[in-house]
Every structure is written in C-alpha cells, then in structure tokens.
Amino acid sequence: MDLTLVLQGLLSGLLFGGVYSLMAVGLTLIFGVMRVVNFAHGDMMVWGMYLSYLLATRAGIDPYLSFVVCAAALFALGLLVQRGLVDRVIDAPHEMQILLMLGVALVLENLALVAFGPEPTRVRSPLGAATLWLGPVFVDIARLVTFVVAVLLTAALSLFLYRTDLGRTIRAAADNTYGALVVGIDVRRVYAVAFGVGAACVGAAGALVSSILPFQPPTGLSLSVTSFNIVIIGGMGSLLGAFIGGLLVSVAESLGAVFLKPSLKELVSFSLLIVILLFRPAGLFGKRTS
C-alpha cells in the first residue's frame, strides 16, 4: 500500500468531512430540539444542490456565493414542513413521525426526479479545476473552500445557539420542553425555527458540494442514510458529536475506498454504525440514557 495514497485519502476525506459535519449538525439539531428524525434530510440537501445548479446555469451565480440563497430557501422549506406537517404529529408515537417524514422524503425526491430527470448533474465552478500541491499530496481547492465554509458555518451555528437569546431559547426547549413552556417560551415557534435552521444547514451543504459531488435525485436517500450514520455514531442530539462524527465517517469512507475498493466504502460506515448501535447506542459524544 502506497503511503501517499493513504495520506491523500486521509486529506480528501477530512476536507469532504466538513460537508458531512454541516449536514449532520442540521439533523442533530432538529432531533435534539423536537425528537423528530428528519428522514427527508438528504432530499432537502439535494434540493439545495439543484437550487445552486439553477442559480449557476440560469443566473450565473457561483455555488460558493449562492449557498447563502440556498440556505435561506431551505430555511423556508424547513419552516413550512415543520409548521404544516411535523407540528401535527409532535406528540404522536415515533413510528408515526418516521412514516410522515418518509412521506415527505418520497415527495421531495420524486419532485426532483420529475423536475430535473434522472441523469447525474454537477455544477461547474471556476474553483473546480484548481489544485494545490503540498509535497506529495494535492489539495483540491474546491474541497478546501467547501471545508472552510462548512466549518465556519458550523461555528456560526454554535455561536448562534450559545450566544444569542433565540439560540438559548432553542437549547432550553431542547433540554426540557415542559420547563420551557412553563417559563413562557413559545415552543412552537422555537420548533419551527430549529427545523428551519436544520434544513438551512443542508441547503448550504448542498450548494457547497454541488461542484464536487455529481448528484441525481436518489442521491438524497444515501445522504439521509449517511446523516443518520453520523448522528448515531456521534450521539443523537450532540452538536459536537455530529461535527466530529462527520469528519470521522468521511475519513473512514475515504480510507475504505483506498484500502478496499470505492464501491465498498459505505460498508465501512455501516459496519461502524452497527458496532456503535450495539455497544454504545448513545454514540461517542451522546449522554447515556436508557
């Protein structure tokens, strides 16, 4: 095994992991606040990708700028889904919530299929071709920028949650819904905002990878499943866990592609998931609850 290849895999995996982290942070935020698993997470992300594709091809806006618009659009979508659908089953059994979100996922994925067709697409960005050699390994500039922006967004999200009043309110509602109600927090509003912010994360993440990762409507399903893997491995509801978990899973898949073969890379994360589920279901950074 060539050491350079391993180093390259490690680096590429780490850089791509920023997007995984951002995606998982969004999912874990939604789960942490309202105990609902967003099965449409990956499909929302694909909509972020197609939105950046439209903005690039129709308006000539580079995805590294349009991610802000995509985040805003997905925020609105998340808000709508929460207000219109999730809010009605917030007290229903988990199975019902899972099925509802599965329905949303089916609708979103296949709307994309009807609108954009089944062929894989990719957004062209001037950054796409640029590389930077660091000794024996090269850095894909697009990946580097994606990584930096994704990490900055994650940091901004933690600042929002820990330093602003609305953020503190969201955390309060996540910790103890009943307590939050008692002290007069408008929990319904908090839920809607949290779902919106969670969706905005994948809106931005989608735009940021749209020039790196070729995508098609079914990509959403595999992104959803990857997000689930990451948040379980990191610990459901833990922001830090989602962040580290995203990097970890990305690196593991990237190394899996080097050591095994590219089509087997997901095997690594699924195996990791099963081990975590069985032996540490609370995840690496989650609180231990029965």
Binding site: L99, E109, N110, P217, L264, L277, P281
Partner: protein, 595 residues
C-alpha cells in the same frame, strides 16, 4: 363475514378467466405486494417492531433460489424454502442483535436499514453472484423450474402466497402468540411483568415474518427473471413493502391486503400514464402524499376505519337485536369452580418463609438507593413496606421483580433465588407486581388487558379469556370489560392494574401504591378488594402511603429510610417508633413531642 370471505375468494379464483393479460399482471402485483406486506405485518404491525430493511430478506431468498437453480440445478420449488430459511436466519441474527441490545424506534429502523444496505453493497461486489449487474435467469417455460408460459399460473401462485401469509397471521392473531405481540407493542415492560417473554416472542415474529418474505424472493426472481442488487436489496423496495400495510392498517389482518388493493393499481396506473410522459417519479410522489395523508388523517390505517363504518351500517340495519359477538362466553356461563384457590375464611397453612431477602443493595451513581436490606414475607402474610418519598421502596420492588439487578444480596422466593432472572420468569414463578404509575395497554379493552395476565397460566386463548372475565368481575370492572383501557378513570386503571397482576395467579403479589391518587370513597372498596385477594390465599407485599390503609391491612410493617430498614414490627409498634416518627416528620418533632 365468513360468506363475504368465501365470496371474495370465489371471485378471485374465477377472475383470470375474464381478465386481460395486463389486468392479470396487475392482480399478480397486488397479491405479491399484499403477501410481502402481510409478512412484514407480523413483525412490523402485530409486534410493532418497525423493520425498514425487509427488502434484504426478499433479496436473500431470491438470490439463494436463483443461484441454486443456476449453479446446482436445484428446482426453485425446493430452493425457495432454502432461501426462506436463510432469510429467516438473517432475520434471527438482526432481530437478536436489535432486541437483545434493546434498540427501539428509530434505532431499530436504522439497524435494519444498515443490514439491508450492507447486504446490497456486499452482493453488488461479489462477482460470483453477478455483482452489480445482477443475475439473469433463462426462460425455459418449464414448470419444474418455476417458469410458466401462462401468466395466470403466476396469478394463482401469488394468490396462494398471499392467502398463506394471511392464514398465518390469522392463526397468530387468535393465539397466545398474537395476544402477546400486541401486549409487547403496547407496553413491553408491562407485558414482561405479566409473564411475557418479550425477547422470545419478538424473535419468533421476526423469524416467521422473514421466512415468508424470503419465500417471496423466489417468486420475484422467477417472475421477473432478473435480480439486481439495487432493486432487490434497496431501500425503495423496503418502502414498497412497508407502505401497503401502513396505509391499509398495520397490525390488522386485512390491512395489508386492502393497502395493496389501493396502492398497487395506483402505482401501476401512474407508472403507465405518467411514466410514459417522462414523469418517472410521479407514482412515488403519490405514495409520499398518501403516506403523509394517512399519518395525519388516518393514523390507524384504512381497514380499521372501513370496519367501523361497516359495523355501524350493520348495527343500524339490525338495531333492536343486539347480538353477542362470536366466542362471547357470556352466552354459556363461565365455570365458577376455577377461582383462584379460593378457600374463603380458611387461614393458609403456615409453611416455610415464602420470600427471603438478604443484604439487598442497589446503587445508582452516587445514590445508594437500597442498602443491605433484609426482609422476609411468610406464607399468607400481608407485609407493609413504608417510608418517606425517595426511601427506595419502588427500587426494592424493581429488584424483587427482576426489572433491576441487585449490586449485592440475594432474593429467595419459594427456596429459589430470583437474582438474574428476567421479569417474565419471576412472574411465572408466582411473584407478580403492579406499577405505581399504572401501565395499562391503552388500546386494548379491559378484558384483553387482563387476558394477557391470564395467559401466563392458561395458554389457550379461550380459557384465558374465561379466567380473565372472572378476574375482571372480581376487581369490579365487570360492567367496563369491553371499554378501551386508555379511557378509564384513574381509580379504574388502578383496579385494572391489580386485576392484570391477579390474573397471573400469583403466590405473592407486590402492590405499589394502588391507592395513591384516589379519594376516600374510592379507597374503601380497594381495601376490601385487597382483603378479599389475601383471604383467597395470596400473600401480599404492599407499598402504601395511606397510613390508615397500611395500618388496617398489614400484619407486619417494614420501614425504609434512605435505602435502609430502620424499623420492623406490628402496626402498633411502628406507629409509636421514634425512628419512624423522626424519618417522617424530622427529629425536631420527636424532641418537641411529649415523652
């Protein structure tokens, strides 16, 4: 109802004679997806364990039969059972891991998805079984190779599969197995306390369900003649399997079939008319909208709703002639002799001590909840266990009944150690408990709730029902036996909790605050009820905050404070014991009290 079933069957058997070949194809798909939905229904509906990876079992079954046929020339008529057995083995492994490690809800969903995806990726990468391209079966039209030139043969095979799965579900539903699955779905811990081996029954459900699903794989392979890892193991097929029983009514016998009759033609027609216009995903959008609609407006599914509508119209047409439902034992009187060892008035003989607890200890993090507790309950005794809030009383019950494992100490019941036994085994040995916060199976009727307990001693569903009816009468809920437990008042729930535990025919009954939250007029009859149960020969260990009741009922009282026994004696001793007064009222009170 029976005639409706016979008529429907006759129509389905005769249909191929008049249908076009395209219509036959649609019916084949209706039956096939109805079959897969029914197979899933056994574990996903009846047992409430949401598997989202059932496609994997279709894949394992199909690939096995196809490979055996291609490589070894084994006829799929045999291969399908080999494939089904392998699917069931995989199901048993996944089920064991999930159930043993206590994965519920979303976690179980993910476990099943992860296994299905691992299978998909693995199969795509093994070239010996076709790799990513999959397997193709050459068409010979040889019936011995499960191949038929006439599509109507597939029609009858698919129909037979659907009927077989439905017959299986029907048989399960009517037996202890099915009643236990429903109890597990409603409240697993409460079911365990009533003697239900939840792990065993969930495993059984998983194995039956995945075996049937595996059979379906062979049909799939030899109907379509092509097997591709992404379609056969993929999440979309799992969604197809789940969605029909959910829409039709999960956990009901006809739900999966109704769901398939609604969704399959819808999917095929939209594939035909919209797919040709380039709108590939249109039928899946319709699925998604339907799924959302069902969750929001029809959460129990279409079949239960339909059944209610039908019943209402039937009631309207035969109003004035209330008929008892079939199997209703009220028409022929229940046996009176079978009461719980009722020897009214007679004192039970004093034998060796029934329950002996020595040095029992349990710590939660920094809190020593129970510290070196010694306790004994004699045969026929009524022992009160009191103490301030947080003294560790309920923890003691959880330790005795197997819901918690002690850190140290021993519990011996009828000369047998209970330490390490699961709750259902302890219940079957004759030690039953109630929960302080009552845990009825909310969507079952009062009678069905109690029947779960009665099944611990009477495995026949009908006999258990008769016993349950006696117990329901005994706890004073006779007039409410068909009411859904979720709608009972607190006082009634407490009686139900008591009745369910009593139906397991215990030797020793642990009662955890059965009077808490009740008003004085509700308490009096409960005290009489407990006296009656005790008089029929059941020993009782009672946690109670209502002092008047404890003092009136108990032969002896043990007082706990901060996990330790601080006093033990007759009610009169305890009432004046300084340590007890101190524990309840503070030492200031003791000093201030006149000596």
């Amino acid at each position: 109802m029976r005639w409706a079933v016979v008529a429907a069957l006759a129509v389905l058997l005769a249909l191929p004679a008049v249908l076009s070949s395209y219509a036959v194809t649609i019916f084949i798909l209706i039956f096939f997806y109805g079959f897969l939905g029914q197979a899933w229904n056994i574990v996903g509906g009846y047992a409430g364990q949401l598997s989202a990876g059932h496609a994997a079992f279709v894949g394992v079954g199909g690939y096995t039969a196809a490979m055996l046929s291609i490589e070894a020339g084994l006829t799929p008529w045999v291969g399908m059972f080999v494939g089904a057995a392998l699917a069931a083995l995989l199901g048993a492994i996944i089920g064991y891991l999930g159930f043993r490690f206590g994965l519920r809800g979303f976690y179980f969903v993910l476990l099943t998805v992860a296994f299905a995806e691992i299978c998909r990726i693995a199969v795509s990468n093994i070239d010996a079984i076709g790799g990513a391209l999959g397997l193709y079966i050459t068409f010979t039209g040889d019936p011995r190779q499960f191949q038929f030139r006439d599509g109507r043969v597939y029609y009858y095979i698919a129909l037979a599969l659907m009927l077989a799965a439905t017959a299986t579900a029907w048989a399960i539903e009517r037996q202890r197995f099915g009643i236990y699955l429903a109890a597990i779905r409603e409240d697993e811990a409460a079911a365990e306390a009533l003697g239900v081996n939840a792990l065993k029954y969930k495993m059984l459900a998983m194995v039956v369900s995945t075996f049937l699903t595996g059979l379906g794989g062979t049909f799939y392979a030899f109907y379509l003649f092509s097997l591709q890892p992404n379609t056969l193991f993929g999440i979309p097929l799992s969604v197809e399997i789940i969605i029909r029983p959910i829409v039709g009514g999960a956990g009901t016998l006809l739900g999966p079939i109704l769901g398939s009759f609604i969704l399959t033609p819808l999917a095929e027609l939209s594939r035909l008319y919209l797919g040709q216009g380039g709108l590939h995903g249109a039928h899946l959008i319709a699925y998604g909208v339907l799924l959302i609609g069902v969750v929001l407006f029809l959460p129990e599914g279409a079949y239960p709703r339909l059944r209610r509508v039908l019943q209402r119209s039937r009631l309207a047409s035969v109003s004035g002639h209330p008929r008892s439902e079939p199997g209703d034992e009220r028409s022929h009187p229940a046996p009176v002799s079978g009461h719980l060892r009722s020897e009214p008035g007679s004192r039970p003989p004093l034998q060796k001590t029934l329950l002996v607890v020595r040095g029992l200890s349990k710590r939660f993090g920094g809190l020593q909840a129970v510290a070196g507790l010694d306790l004994a309950v004699e045969h026929g005794e009524m022992l009160g266990l009191i103490g301030p809030n947080g003294a560790g009383k309920t923890t003691v019950f959880n330790l005795l009944s197997g819901f918690l494992t002690p850190d140290a100490g021993d519990v011996s019941f009828r000369d047998r150690s209970l330490v390490g036994l699961p709750p259902h085994a302890i219940c079957r040995l004759g030690l039953a408990r109630t929960f302080q916060l009552v845990r009825p199976f909310p969507r079952m009727s009062v009678l069905e709730n109690v029947r779960v307990g009665a099944l611990a001693r009477h495995p026949q569903a009908l006999e258990a029902r008769a016993r349950a009816r006696d117990v329901v009468e005994r706890v004073g809920l006779g007039a409410r036996e068909h009411v859904t437990a979720g709608t009972l008042t607190l006082a009634e729930r407490k009686r139900l909790e008591l009745g369910r535990a009593l139906a397991t025919e215990p030797t020793l009954l642990l009662l955890d605050e059965v009077m808490a939250g009740l008003n004085p007029t509700e308490i009096e009859p409960i005290i009489r009820l407990i006296r009656g149960i005790h008089a029929s020969g059941v020993s009782i260990l009672l946690i109670e905050h209502n002092m008047r009741a404890v003092m009136a009922l108990s032969h002896r009282i043990v007082v706990l404070s901060f996990g330790e026994k601080i006093a033990e004696g007759t009610p009169a001793d305890i009432a004046n014991h300084p340590k007890v007064v101190e524990a309840y009222l503070g030492d200031e009170y003791v000093r201030a009290a006149p000596a």
